[in-house]
Subunit: 227 residues, 8 copies
Amino acid sequence: MSFVDLGFARVDTDRHQRCGFPEVVFGAGKTPEEVVGIAAVLVEAHGLFLASRVTAAHYEALSAVFPEARWHERARCMSIERIPLPRRGGTVGVICAGTSDLPVAEEAVVTLEFFGNRVLRVNDVGVAGIHRLLAVRDKLEACSVLVVVAGMEGALPSAVAGLTSKPIVAVPTSVGYGASFGGLAALLGMLNSCGSGVTVVNIDNGFGAAYAAAQINRLVPEDAPLP
Amino acid sequence: MSFVDLGFARVDTDRHQRCGFPEVVFGAGKTPEEVVGIAAVLVEAHGLFLASRVTAAHYEALSAVFPEARWHERARCMSIERIPLPRRGGTVGVICAGTSDLPVAEEAVVTLEFFGNRVLRVNDVGVAGIHRLLAVRDKLEACSVLVVVAGMEGALPSAVAGLTSKPIVAVPTSVGYGASFGGLAALLGMLNSCGSGVTVVNIDNGFGAAYAAAQINRLVPEDAPLP
Amino acid sequence: MSFVDLGFARVDTDRHQRCGFPEVVFGAGKTPEEVVGIAAVLVEAHGLFLASRVTAAHYEALSAVFPEARWHERARCMSIERIPLPRRGGTVGVICAGTSDLPVAEEAVVTLEFFGNRVLRVNDVGVAGIHRLLAVRDKLEACSVLVVVAGMEGALPSAVAGLTSKPIVAVPTSVGYGASFGGLAALLGMLNSCGSGVTVVNIDNGFGAAYAAAQINRLVPEDAPLP
Amino acid sequence: MSFVDLGFARVDTDRHQRCGFPEVVFGAGKTPEEVVGIAAVLVEAHGLFLASRVTAAHYEALSAVFPEARWHERARCMSIERIPLPRRGGTVGVICAGTSDLPVAEEAVVTLEFFGNRVLRVNDVGVAGIHRLLAVRDKLEACSVLVVVAGMEGALPSAVAGLTSKPIVAVPTSVGYGASFGGLAALLGMLNSCGSGVTVVNIDNGFGAAYAAAQINRLVPEDAPLP
Amino acid sequence: MSFVDLGFARVDTDRHQRCGFPEVVFGAGKTPEEVVGIAAVLVEAHGLFLASRVTAAHYEALSAVFPEARWHERARCMSIERIPLPRRGGTVGVICAGTSDLPVAEEAVVTLEFFGNRVLRVNDVGVAGIHRLLAVRDKLEACSVLVVVAGMEGALPSAVAGLTSKPIVAVPTSVGYGASFGGLAALLGMLNSCGSGVTVVNIDNGFGAAYAAAQINRLVPEDAPLP
Amino acid sequence: MSFVDLGFARVDTDRHQRCGFPEVVFGAGKTPEEVVGIAAVLVEAHGLFLASRVTAAHYEALSAVFPEARWHERARCMSIERIPLPRRGGTVGVICAGTSDLPVAEEAVVTLEFFGNRVLRVNDVGVAGIHRLLAVRDKLEACSVLVVVAGMEGALPSAVAGLTSKPIVAVPTSVGYGASFGGLAALLGMLNSCGSGVTVVNIDNGFGAAYAAAQINRLVPEDAPLP
Amino acid sequence: MSFVDLGFARVDTDRHQRCGFPEVVFGAGKTPEEVVGIAAVLVEAHGLFLASRVTAAHYEALSAVFPEARWHERARCMSIERIPLPRRGGTVGVICAGTSDLPVAEEAVVTLEFFGNRVLRVNDVGVAGIHRLLAVRDKLEACSVLVVVAGMEGALPSAVAGLTSKPIVAVPTSVGYGASFGGLAALLGMLNSCGSGVTVVNIDNGFGAAYAAAQINRLVPEDAPLP
Amino acid sequence: MSFVDLGFARVDTDRHQRCGFPEVVFGAGKTPEEVVGIAAVLVEAHGLFLASRVTAAHYEALSAVFPEARWHERARCMSIERIPLPRRGGTVGVICAGTSDLPVAEEAVVTLEFFGNRVLRVNDVGVAGIHRLLAVRDKLEACSVLVVVAGMEGALPSAVAGLTSKPIVAVPTSVGYGASFGGLAALLGMLNSCGSGVTVVNIDNGFGAAYAAAQINRLVPEDAPLP
């Protein structure tokens, strides 16, 4: 199993083979130079590069070396796709409870599309107006897996779980008044969901939810129906 | 403003006048003898007595002195009503998410009826099967105030708040798997409800919710319509 | 049941009909453009708009389109009232423990007045000088419902509950020294109040308390006496 | 959408149609009589019944009415399968870090088999002896989805995620010394996994993980290869 | 500085000289034999022995050796006073919010009297009936120091601090509904008291509060007036 | 009992009479104008004013109106002493574990001197070099009361308590590495002190500790010996 | 690398070779039969067996098969030593703050001796009587590594660290009043120690501390001096 | 035992003698002037000075007085080595899970080298690509002690502990998504490690880990083999 040792990083060039997707870089706490160094290894190995939690300074350094690099501002991601991953069958739904949760949903969408998935986006269908959710129920059921993003009390995954039969990956966000405690309330809400089968990722971790959904969607036959 | 000093307790016989309802005794941590002593003062003053969080031992001691005392087992309450409080107009809805939440809902119902309120009970309408809730929406709207009891993620108050215009007092319960942390998840869920106007009481505190609902229902004209 | 789909938001134009009050926008995490887009839908539907947790940048964008928009700086709210809601009977008391809690109390007052309620304000009556509270007891009893705002240990709702018979909606604030933990101490204090009937909203959530109080005050006959 | 109202419960007989699996009963906090009453409705509707978190007393009451009921002691479950669910293609791996985690893994296995899934069990492969995990790597990769159960620091899902390409549902358990805080350490560990794509359910919630895995395994074609 | 080494304990026979009071034994987690062994050293050294958090088994073992030992059941303490400490001037007030807090108040009273202090006891004067507290204000002001015991939201010290000029040692108790979290709510409430000068000891630690009050009362001249 | 109603504040001009010290203003969250308004009332009533947790902006506004106002920068306090409080007998020790804790110790010293107390300062005597503490033991014993300030694990009060007989008011500070959690570690350490008689105030609350110490020192006869 | 697969356990018979010590069994949550099954494998492989956190029922089952098994009651351990590990040079000090911490210290001592280490025990030298610690300072300095066990505020490791130059492994215990929160206070205290070089293990984890100390002591030359 | 009293600090010039290493200054919360003042004493006493958690402002002040001072930017340390400590035998491994953890690892390396240790650095060998760790196993086993730095779930120490026989000092970092809660997840993970013998220091406390490792490495004979 291979890796490239840069001193400050051992880039796992074997991961694509082993896990099905190339390594994605977590940018927070890394210098722009370090991120560019890692990018060079990954582009060389796979023709592909994705980093989450990066800033404009990271992007500036990257695009100086790789002019084709793309900046996904609201998602705080940047990507290079010289050899895009093949398009997959099936559709991944990304549902979001409120407009304030959009940056996290964006991180999920950017990741899913980078991994070759078709995405259905449904925004602002929180449980305070349940008719908005009921109106899209058939579309959700036609997806193969659903990423559900919500802050505050994080109740949306429970409601979705009660209306469809598809796997749900829930993402708590840090949106809310004081006692949301930076997303803890939504996290606990989702972990305690009365809707069976809801699984949960870290607070604001749109990337992680997308990765799990991409793994699940890969199980679906190529000719799964469209929503 | 009066009180009766028993040494171990200063019974607040003025509270009925000041706050509109007689003092209710919190039984936990008090000996049976102490509870009976306080009961004697309150029955003498108002012809009324209610205690929450009591055990069979408390009831045994009370009924030895006051044979008319009633034991509300599942609600862990006991009461004496020599001079019942007058029946009020309006209806208080007590809605409960799951069968496991019934003991807390019972505490609320016993308290509400002791305070003279008509109660509408709706059990087991959690958000995992939202059609069960939609089926009773008109009945809920016809109440003057709603007590909503739920454990796990505590999402029911949000859903109810999105379907009616009535004040909602939410009660988190300690029902749930490990990370409910004794009801903390439901408590935080309700405090962060995206459904506007939800107010919250302590975990498993059916009594407190009922007290608040009784205060609210007292504002309603006597001839409020039935649900 | 209707809504307007803006892509980034599904504005719940049915809520006024269903819940009795139009949707109020939570501004945090939304761009100025998004807030203005939502405002346009709500003003069109109801002639009314209120947003909480907004910044000067949000207001600037709104007033460029709606010159009649008002900026409530200390409350961090902005509003448009082309067709004001009808004035209600009854009075809502907004009581605040200390001067440092004023921004949260302001959010409650702005919301209550937007919803058509008469408000009685009583500031700085914390329990460290209980005579200040005793001096206004009769005025509080003449209200139909009380919003009580306090930081630090959050003891004021307990004291008020012991002096009046009216429903109390308690708002913990994040004011305090280190171990207030951003309002957690006040929140727990209020949830554990020995004063029966106190219900609680999220930390610093003046809006939520006002919404609940407005729902309660709507139960009062139009000719309720003035405090 | 149908349900059966028993007063103390509204049994959701529509869920099988809507969500793909019949309702499973959470036994904790329900009396034996209540559980049997619900069982009667579900057996009538689907010929199927499963309850988690039950005691010997629950089983005794159930088997008195339904002699064919089975008692899964270590998993704390009981079941009735008059009309078993059809056997599914694909295999679900249930991997467990230590022998002390077995009761939770058992709950997952019972649930998965009830839902018609073939299960591969791998016990006691914690990261302190990583060679035990490497020895089964190919078997894990041949599954369609993996349930990974671990207490203490909950590191096993991270290690598994680095070795396979399959979706992982992680279950933290309450096994450990003092600062595991009833499974909180394992829960946080799994939520923060550096292994991409790990999703998490509640502490000790073998049922929830199994339900999610069954939803995912349903996406797999019937002729998926055996591990 | 002296001590006696018993192997399982090094009894600090110098503490009386150094700190003004003899060592008091914390009984929890010690076997009856260990406690008796320590008692023998302390009785030999000072003619005095006090242990807190002991059970009937501890007392049985002690009284078999020291028949004059006293058992303070509700306070969970036992004591031997062959050579009682001298009686002090000044009076220590022990005020308690509710009858359920009595065991903790008892621990404080037993300790204070063992240390030679005159004690004024005032029970059940919680803030929900503030007139009960106002009625004893002059008596409290005549004490030299006040121990204030309260559970639930722990608001009593704040109210007392606003009515008197004397030092207040506050003791939170574990009495309360779910979100008291074993006394955490009262503890945080007291630490955040808006009543200046309130100092706090550990949850249910009546002994610690009494020790501090005894140190403070020792500063008072012998002829301080009686309350 | 008197107060002055400024609308935004009810200044408690009776507190000096009732509690022995004039009201001290908590500046955080108050505008400079509000603080100056309150100052005007207190200076008029008592010739005295002290505010904690203020910024340069507060001081600028105050000194524009009261040129004699003093700015205590490191303590974040400001004061006016037209009619200083009388000098008291006895000495209050202010002991601080490390140089990083100095701002909190300063707040205590400023408050104590404002209230008329003689102060003995001992800095940087943490338990990692216990000989530094042993060197000042006699000076500490000669004080009437000790304020002990420490961050990190907050062990200093335990060590001091084992070496002297005087009351100790412990102040945890927010100084420390990550798992000090903003002073929580020191706070819990002090609350759990094995040194009997340690009482505790809020994190970084030098003012509160000083107030309590001033109340205690007031019990001491005027001719108490000097340290 | 070898292991033995028992189905419910994969016993890591390679660990002795890899890590220097044979696997030690964590008994909690395992049935007596499972523990005995694992013991058989380990005795066969190494002639050695140690289990922590076991009950009398575990011991009964073990001694029925292995009559030479020893029961360490207070330490909650059991062991078999057919081929004892070689005796090591150097001495490990096990220092304990109070008598109530003895069970945890015992677990450390049993483990250390099983691993072939000479142990120096020093009990009951908490910081409240620092002279007891100063009296043994030279003995501690003569050890190669120190295990320091303390509950409550956990201050003892800081004091020891300031007096010696040897590595310290600190063990927090769950001994204490309410706000010790099951040992959390001591844990945080030790993690925040101002005494440089203190490292910490889990609450009540005497075994883990002993294991670390045994690893460290193995670095010492065989002829290290005696304390 | 000596110290130098600067008023704001009592510099412990005896510590080198007592504990084997000179005092290291914790810079956070100290002014540049204070740090320089302390440096002057320590350089005078030992010809050595090291400070952690300092800013550029601290360094500027120091280098103005001591031009030979070195600035370790990423480690946030500064040092003066007029009389360097003697070079030690043995090697300390510093292993780090991800590139984002480098600043904490740097603090450890700077400290270890200042104390005279040879350091082996291994970066970016997190458990998500376990082959990177297996590739360096022999090098790690050749060290005398290992400092293992990891954020997120903190699983690396468990994996290392299962592969080597050397003492491990684990350092949790604050790197991670929301529910890392500033490093709490990694801290709890390490404290609950299933890998026996892992000991833990405070979050981000590279200095503390290095200090402990230096104490351990000092036990090793001078001629220990190189890795």
